[in-house]
Each structure stands twice: as structure tokens, then as C-alpha cells.
């Protein structure tokens, strides 16, 4: 496949003409906001011709809590407890990027041990998130065995989070300056055991879900993303890698300990729902491998927090930065502007779903049929809260 990702005049972003609903030819159907096939509270306004979708509009707002605004009103330390809520299944990317942005602007050097613990934390997050996603993808095509397995197994990973961070979901572990604690006794052993189990589970899933005639029939050819769509649509992460682009921020612009980890960017050549799913399966395995490497290398003593000012009246110097990390869905970023006061001037949170769930989804949905919408949506791996912030 030749990879022309450049912008070409051929791509037309114009909004399709709205179908004439009064013609009696169409049915309008709302999928969501409460729907098992929706990846969170979000809704799609679908217009059907028979069971073929002729137009799709994404509606968000059900999870809008005004985080970016809230952050302008809270102190730098207080914000770290807020940001994790911006992507429920992957809170730690928010914790890391928020902290990293603050550290970068204030010139705080995070100690080595914290760097490794952060890296491991983020990879554990990827593992947990992908496990949930795999279940979602399988479930979206009506196969409920795998979700039972993966969601249950994700809880084992959450057990690890609970031990490491004191919480299962909103970990609040990565904090400006470092992390909040070292690893508890015996953590490594338990983590390795859970990694081993996860590997076995992934093998089973490969046999049951991927080598599966029904799954293949439903996912192959669905939601094809061509390389020439990637940049014009701002597509990132596995959605971009599945069509052959070897782009991964962990490798291309390494942060934390990634430049010291042994791994390769995984890219595929099947740019459809199946190909993306298979790519994610491999990335889940890769994540297990990276967690093991972190367990091997993370220092077990030494400081895990930089010398910090008194956070009660911490003023961060005026500055600006954009920091990003590769989350399960691609480029996750924090743009931060500070003005020298005790409060941040502006934070913009950039989540991949912003385009994947709206511009991309609205385009890919057209021409598919109603039964495939849920599967398509999951295959883009979107989290509504990061759209709305």
C-alpha cells in the first residue's frame, strides 16, 4: 500500500446535504446516549434509508463538567485531583500530562524512580483500558463471552492499581513533582503473576474472538480508514497505525522512560475494524512486555518526588507548553498557559476522540447499516468525556 497521507484537494470535508425528512423515505433514529453499544454517554443522530445510514451526527455534552474552566479556578495541586476524570477508563494519562506540563513550565526535574513508576503506571493503564476495549468490541458484535473475561481480568489489573496508588479508577498517583509513593511490598511478584495470566487470556481471546468466523464477517471491511484520511482528519493512534503508518509518540518523540525500553511501533495493513482490533490485541501484549521491563528497571529506592514548593501557595511562572503522550487511542495532549499566578490561565485537553468520534465517525457511518454502528464506534475507540472536558 502506498502511503500518501498528504492533504489532497480530492478530500471533501463539506457536510452532506441533510436528507429531506419530510419525504417519508427516511427514519431518524437516536442511538444513545444510554445504549449498550455506545462507548460512554454520547449519542448518534442517525438517518436511515431502510437499514442503511445516510447521515450521522454525533451529539456530546452528557459528560460536560467544565474541567478546563474548573482548572482555571483551582490551585496547581488541586487540579491534579480533577484531571483524572477527563477520561474515565484512562485517568492516568491526564495525571501524567497535567503534571508534566506544570513541571515543564516550572522547571521541575522529576526523579528517576518517579519516571519509571510513571511509565509503568501508564502501561498498566493501557493494559487495563485495552482489556475493557476488547470486551467492548466483542460485545458490540453480540459476543458476550469475551467481555465477561476481559472485564473480570481488568479488575485484576485494577487490583494492582489499588495497591500501587490507593484507588482502582481515579488513581491520583502521578502528581506534579513525581508520584505519591513507591511500590508496596511484594508488588512485583503479584504484578508478574497478573501479567502472565493476562498473556494467557489474550491467547484465549485470539482463538475465541479473532479466529472467529462471525467476528471476521462482521468486522472485516467495516469502517475503512485510508491513509489519505489520516492527516486531514487528524487521525492518530491505532486508528492510524492500522492503515500502515508507524507513528507512535512513545517511539517518535520518547518521553518518560520510553527511550530506554525495548519495543517497536506496531503497524498493520488492514485499515478496517478487524485490523484495528487485531493491532490493539498486539499492543496489549506489547504493553505487558513493557510493564515487565519497567518492573525490571524501576529503581526500588531513592526519591520519587522532586523538591517541591509549598503547594498551598504555589505560583507557577508565566509560560506555555504543549505536552503529549501516546494513550491507547493515540495522541493525548495538554496545552497549558500560565501567567505567574496561583492559578493556571488556560488548559486545553486534547483527546483523540475529539475527531475520531465526530468528524471520522460521522463520515464512516454513512453507508453502513444500523447493526454495525455500535461495532464501528467501538472500533474507533472513543471516550466521550475527553471530547467535552
Amino acid at each position: 500500500m502506498t502511503l500518501s497521507t498528504g492533504h489532497s484537494a480530492a478530500l471533501d470535508f463539506a457536510q452532506p446535504e441533510p436528507p429531506d425528512l419530510s419525504s417519508g423515505k427516511y427514519v431518524k433514529l437516536w442511538q444513545g446516549p444510554q445504549h449498550p453499544g455506545i462507548t460512554g454517554n454520547m449519542s448518534l443522530e442517525l438517518v436511515l434509508d431502510g437499514d442503511t445510514i445516510v447521515s450521522c451526527k454525533t451529539h456530546v455534552g452528557y459528560l460536560h463538567r467544565g474541567f478546563e474552566k474548573l482548572m482555571e479556578r483551582r490551585t496547581f495541586i488541586q487540579n491534579f485531583t480533577v484531571v483524572c476524570r477527563i477520561a474515565v477508563p484512562e485517568p492516568t494519562f491526564n495525571e501524567y500530562l497535567y503534571s508534566h506540563a506544570v513541571e515543564e513550565i516550572s522547571g521541575i526535574e522529576v526523579p528517576e524512580r518517579a519516571i519509571w513508576l510513571r511509565t509503568m503506571n501508564l502501561e498498566m493503564m493501557r493494559l487495563a483500558s485495552f482489556l475493557m476495549w476488547i470486551g467492548g468490541q466483542s460485545g458490540a458484535f453480540g459476543q458476550y463471552t469475551v467481555p465477561n473475561w476481559t472485564l473480570a481480568y481488568r479488575d485484576y489489573v485494577l487490583d494492582l492499581f489499588e495497591e500501587m496508588t490507593g484507588a482502582r479508577i481515579y488513581h491520583m498517583y502521578i502528581v506534579p513533582g513525581g508520584v505519591r509513593a513507591g511500590l508496596p511490598d511484594g508488588f512485583e511478584e503479584r504484578a508478574r503473576k497478573i501479567m502472565k495470566g493476562a498473556e494467557k487470556l489474550l491467547d484465549q481471546i485470539e482463538r475465541v474472538m479473532f479466529n472467529n468466523v462471525v467476528f471476521k464477517a462482521r468486522s472485516k471491511g467495516l469502517g475503512i480508514i485510508t491513509p489519505d484520511m489520516v492527516d486531514p482528519y487528524g487521525i492518530v493512534g491505532p486508528n492510524a497505525r492500522a492503515c500502515g503508518l508507524a507513528r507512535d509518540i512513545r517511539k517518535d518523540e520518547p518521553y518518560l522512560a520510553y527511550d530506554r525500553l525495548d519495543f517497536e511501533t506496531i503497524s498493520g495493513n488492514e485499515p478496517d475494524a478487524y485490523g484495528r482490533a487485531y493491532l490493539r490485541l498486539q499492543e496489549t501484549r506489547q504493553s505487558i512486555n513493557l510493564i515487565r521491563q519497567c518492573l525490571d528497571h524501576a529503581p526500588t529506592d531513592g526519591p520519587f518526588q522532586a523538591d517541591m514548593p509549598n503547594v498551598l501557595h504555589w505560583k507557577v511562572p508565566a509560560g506555555e507548553t504543549y505536552v503529549k503522550a501516546e494513550c491507547t487511542r493515540g495522541e493525548y495532549g495538554y496545552y497549558m498557559v500560565t501567567d505567574g499566578s496561583e492559578f493556571v490561565r488556560r488548559v486545553h485537553v486534547r483527546g483523540p476522540s475529539y475527531t475520531h468520534a465526530i468528524a471520522v465517525m460521522e463520515r464512516l457511518a454513512v453507508g453502513t447499516n444500523i447493526a454495525d454502528i455500535a461495532g464501528l464506534m467501538v472500533s474507533l475507540h472513543t471516550y466521550p468525556p475527553e471530547i467535552e472536558r
Binding site: E320, Y335, R350
Partner: protein
């Protein structure tokens, strides 16, 4: 990098070039040439990726600074294009023809800051807010606390004392600094 900046300076009225870190630079350009610059960056300079569009409210200066964050995958360089517009009612050229997700950002900025992008599709459709009747909430003058005090009740029986004041009342009511 320097070559690029030189080139840009030669052809455009860019200023305030600010190297934030290796791999990231910001610059400022006047509102009217912004769209052409961004198009140029996308088509000729390899900045094919739009990371995001956002806005910073400098209420004290009466301006909104729009930020277009662009990325070049080959040089691994990120360029932030800043454009100042008047806070009160100034419009900005839409770039919805340049990236498919741009209109979504513009629709959000419309809702959250009240900025108009003429021609941008579905600009006035509700984005996150449904039935919002206040000023656009991301504007600095929108007071979240006042809003929530007005909308939501307080729990009964909450009362907090300030340690220092409490101690003064209890231990040395007649001493200490005299209030003027």
C-alpha cells in the same frame, strides 16, 4: 527550523517567535493572514497535522488569543500559531476546509467563547451545552462559583472556623493587633 522561520518571516508578518522547547515554537500572526499562513504550513512546510484549535481569554487586554497547534510528523516539530482577535465580537476566518475536525473546534469556540467563524458548518448547533442561557462559559468573566451558588443549594449545618480567629476569641480576646 531557523530556515523555516526565516522563510515565514520573509513572506508573512509573523512576530513574537518563541522557542518553547526543542521541537516546539510559537509565533503570532495578524488575523487576516492567519488562514493563508496555516494553509501554507500545511501544504508546503509539512505541518499536516492539526493537534487542536483553542483560545485563551486575555480579558485584561480585551483580546482572545486563538491557538492553532500544528505538527510536522517528519521533522517532529510542533508550531503554535497565535492569532489575537478582539474579545468583543471580532470574527475569525474559518479553516474548516483545511481539516475535517476544524469545524468541530470552531463550533466549540463559538459555544464556549462566543467567537464567530463565518461559514463554518453547524456553527450554532449546541455542542456541549443544551439550553444554555448565560454568557459563553469559558469567558473569564463567567463566574462558575456564582453560577453554582445560584443553582445549587448548600447542605444544612455546615460551618467552619478559622483557627487563628477561634484561638483569639478563646484565649486572648483583648490582645493582639487592634483593628483600625
Amino acid at each position: 527550523m531557523n530556515e523555516l522561520l526565516e522563510r515565514l518571516q520573509r513572506h508573512f508578518d509573523v512576530n513574537n517567535i518563541n522557542v518553547l522547547k526543542p521541537g516546539m515554537t510559537t509565533l503570532k500572526i495578524g488575523k487576516d493572514s492567519a488562514e493563508i499562513l496555516i494553509r501554507e504550513l500545511r501544504d508546503r512546510e509539512g505541518y499536516t497535522h492539526l493537534n487542536f484549535i483553542t483560545c485563551i481569554d486575555y480579558i485584561e487586554d480585551g483580546i482572545f488569543t486563538l491557538v492553532y497547534m500544528l505538527h510536522n510528523y517528519d521533522s517532529k516539530h510542533t508550531l503554535g500559531v497565535h492569532v489575537d482577535i478582539d474579545r468583543e465580537g471580532e470574527e475569525m476566518t474559518s479553516i474548516h476546509t483545511l481539516w475535517a475536525q476544524a469545524w468541530t473546534y470552531q463550533r466549540e469556540l463559538r459555544e464556549m467563547y462566543g467567537i464567530n467563524f463565518p461559514g463554518s458548518p453547524r456553527l450554532d448547533e449546541d455542542f456541549c451545552l443544551e439550553g444554555w442561557d448565560q454568557i459563553p462559559p469559558m469567558r473569564r468573566e463567567f463566574d462558575t462559583r456564582a453560577f453554582s451558588e445560584e443553582r445549587f443549594g448548600h447542605r444544612e449545618g455546615r460551618h467552619s472556623e478559622v483557627p487563628r480567629v477561634h484561638m483569639k476569641m478563646e484565649l486572648y480576646p483583648k490582645r493582639g493587633g487592634d483593628e483600625e
